[in-house]
């Protein structure tokens, strides 16, 4: 158990800068998820924390100890690999024991630890099998068991679920979350799957091109993404981005939405702390999540933030609990989430309720969030972008 502090860490391979100054900090017992598209540097950052690669500049602290020049084995970490990396020549018991034997832990204590870990992960009956005789899910458990047996200060997970099939992945995700709630150890978890990030994390660091785009709680990131990239990356289906112009209409600032066939609606935007006056008559990008455009919102009658519009349905995508309705607004395809029974067939006009209370605006030039001052609890995480 230890906190993790990363200060302005840079990493270059030759002349290619892979990490361009990463700063973040998590407290002891927190689960940090590093998420981003391929090549964003998340795995490199994990390798730096593990000590498998050396830092070009900056500082990494585990607890109060700077570990820049400490070898992986002395950092008090354990790592779960995407490929599991189980030692193929050893059975499960020896795989679990290897790290302990290397550290010259007494025999009896090793035996005790193995039993304990095997019980926690329900792999007791697999102890005498070789990795090649295990299924994907079982290998995954053993790989986690090997990390658990060491009882490290920090666990590192490198895309641990991406080799599993969809169903097993969801199961193991829940298990990892349960495990974390039980053992309360600091975990750094790398994934490219935004749903894994949202479900598991205490804090998410969204990375792109070697920089952190936003470092915050899942809730904050979902509600107040700091730029277009984050807004589009988190959430499924992704947030709608509608280009529009800020206008004033009867004392209210808002946007005009054109839904085809000459229909035009003015939707006021009124949110506390959002000053739109400087933006009047400027182009902006309106960000609105699919669930904020629906056939109606139960128990919300009379809510001044909810406005009715009509549009022609283009395509329907039933997902089961909801049906995704695709319409055209301001020339852009927009996804709405409606009750399956309320969704109109393609070609017909459908009444849609738009909840404007959680819309956000982006500057089309800088792609940054407009107006709202999102002050996250830990400001250090936000490397200033130009």
């Amino acid at each position: 158990m230890a906190s993790l502090t990363i200060t302005n860490v840079k990493k270059a391979f030759g002349s290619t800068e892979v990490l361009k100054g990463i700063t973040l900090r998590i407290e002891s017992g927190e689960l940090l998820v590093l998420v981003g598209p391929s090549g964003c540097g998340k795995s490199t950052l994990l390798n730096l924390i593990a000590g498998l690669e050396s830092i070009t500049s900056g500082e990494i602290k585990i607890g109060d100890r700077v570990v820049n020049n400490i070898r992986p084995k002395d950092r008090d970490i354990a790592m779960v690999f995407q490929s599991y990396a189980l030692y193929p020549n050893m059975n499960v018991r020896k795989n679990l024991a290897f790290g302990l034997e290397t550290r010259r832990v007494p025999r009896a204590q090793i035996e005790e630890t193995i039993q304990k870990v095997a019980n926690v992960l329900q792999i007791s009956e697999l102890l005498d099998r070789k990795p090649s005789q295990l299924s994907g899910g079982q290998r995954q458990r053993v790989a986690m068991g090997r990390a658990l047996a060491r009882d490290p200060a920090i666990f590192l997970f490198d895309e641990p679920l991406s080799n599993l099939d969809a169903k097993l992945r969801v199961e193991m995700r829940t298990e990892i979350k349960l495990l974390h709630q039980r053992i309360k150890t600091t975990i750094v978890y790398v994934t490219h799957d935004q749903i894994e990030a949202m479900t598991l994390a205490d804090r998410i660091a969204i990375m792109k091109d070697g920089t952190i785009q936003q470092f915050d709680t899942p809730h904050q990131i979902y509600e107040n993404p700091s730029n277009l990239f984050v807004a589009g990356f988190i959430g499924s289906p992704s947030m709608n981005f509608i280009p529009c112009r800020i206008a004033t209409h009867g004392q209210q600032n808002g946007v005009f939405l054109e839904t085809g066939n000459g229909r035009s609606y003015f939707l006021p935007i009124e949110q506390p702390g959002l000053a739109l006056d400087p933006w009047i008559d400027s182009e902006v990008i309106l960000g609105i999540r699919p669930e904020m455009i629906s056939h109606g919102f139960a128990g919300q009658k009379g809510n001044p933030q909810i406005h009715e519009i009509e549009s022609i349905v283009k395509v329907l995508e039933p997902t089961g609990p909801d049906t995704l309705v695709f319409v055209n607004i301001n020339g852009k395809e927009v996804t709405c989430r409606a009750n399956p029974s309320a969704a109109k067939p393609p070609g017909e006009i459908m009444k849609l309720m738009v909840d404007m209370s959680k819309t956000i605006l982006f500057d089309p030039q800088t792609e940054e969030l407009i107006g709202k001052s999102t002050t996250p609890p830990f400001q250090v995480g936000l490397e200033k972008r130009k």
């Binding site: 593990a50 790592m79 990396a85 030692y87 193929p88 790290g99 090997r146």
Partner: protein, 296 residues
């Protein structure tokens, strides 16, 4: 059911049957072509000299005798000594076993470093080591002779071992390196995090999964070193000659009659160890070569 149907259609097609027959005919002819010399050697070695002089080359011996084998092993004259190839055979064994062991182990260690512990310039080291595979034996005879002389191990089995280890390293390194690049790097990373160092990872993680490539390396090196003639004749003294050189001298030592049966027996004795290695471990040889070639 489906299989049967397939077989029936195959049987019905005359073209397919003809193809099969042609294939097997060619294979059998090729096999006979390569086996006949061995058969002649064996038959001849079991004949008496009288039989050889009066009989036909591939006729069956009238009287099967192991006398020629005994003579080749224990009493045939090589140069001025008439003690057979026995001593030289053991020279070869004393040379091959350490040379193969050392070059294989060093090759494994080299391959481990070149695949899992790369350092700045390691690729360059590796490529220059590979050049060793392409240097013809003849080129290094003189410099090697002078080197061995300065080291004080010229004309000895130790000298021969040294030469073969150095020459074999290029090949064994290549074998092991290509095998080890197919082992996931994550294994080494995991072991590093588990606290294991360079040697512990080698012993506990890498070596246990290296058996196929060890077999390949051992077969290759044993065959190369046992069959080598040039280094044997150039760098060995009278008493340290390997069996290949002794065989040559035996055949060339004439005391009146040329004893074909003894020559044949001696040649077979000299060839038996490599044949044996292939028969025992050949299966692993192919498997190991393929394991290195196909990833996964």
């Amino acid at each position: 059911m489906r299989n049967e149907a397939q077989i029936t259609t195959m049987n019905q097609s005359p073209g397919a049957i003809f193809g099969r027959i042609l294939l097997y005919t060619i294979l059998i002819i090729a096999a006979i072509y390569f086996l006949i010399p061995l058969l002649v050697m064996i038959i001849t070695s079991l004949k008496t000299m009288n039989d050889i002089r009066t009989g036909h080359l591939i006729s069956w011996p009238r009287e099967v005798t192991l006398d020629a084998w005994k003579e080749a092993w224990g009493s045939a004259c090589i140069g001025v000594k008439c003690e057979g190839i026995k001593g030289y055979f053991w020279n070869s064994v004393r040379m091959v076993v350490p040379a193969v062991a050392i070059s294989t182990i060093m090759g494994a260690a080299n391959g481990y470093v070149f695949s899992k512990w790369r350092f700045k310039g390691s690729e360059m080291f590796f490529s220059s080591l590979l050049l060793g595979c392409f240097i013809p034996f003849q080129v290094i005879l003189l410099p090697m002779a002078s080197t061995l002389g300065r080291l004080g191990i010229a004309q000895s089995v130790t000298g021969l071992i040294t030469v073969h280890v150095i020459y074999g390293l290029a090949f064994t390194t290549l074998f092991f390196r290509n095998f080890y690049v197919t082992i996931p790097d994550d294994l080494v990373k995991a072991a590093k995090i588990d606290g294991a160092g360079f040697f512990r990872i080698f012993w506990k993680i890498i070596l246990p999964v290296s058996i196929p490539i060890f077999v390949v390396s051992i077969i290759w090196q044993t065959t190369q070193i046992w069959n080598d003639f040039l280094f044997g004749v150039a760098f060995s003294g009278g008493d340290s000659q390997p069996v290949t050189v002794a065989l040559n001298n035996l055949v060339n030592t004439s005391t009146g009659v040329k004893k074909y049966n003894v020559d044949m027996a001696a040649a077979i004795i000299a060839g038996i160890p490599t044949l044996f290695v292939y028969i025992v471990a050949g299966k692993y040889f192919l498997r190991g070569l393929i394991a290195g070639a196909v990833k996964g």
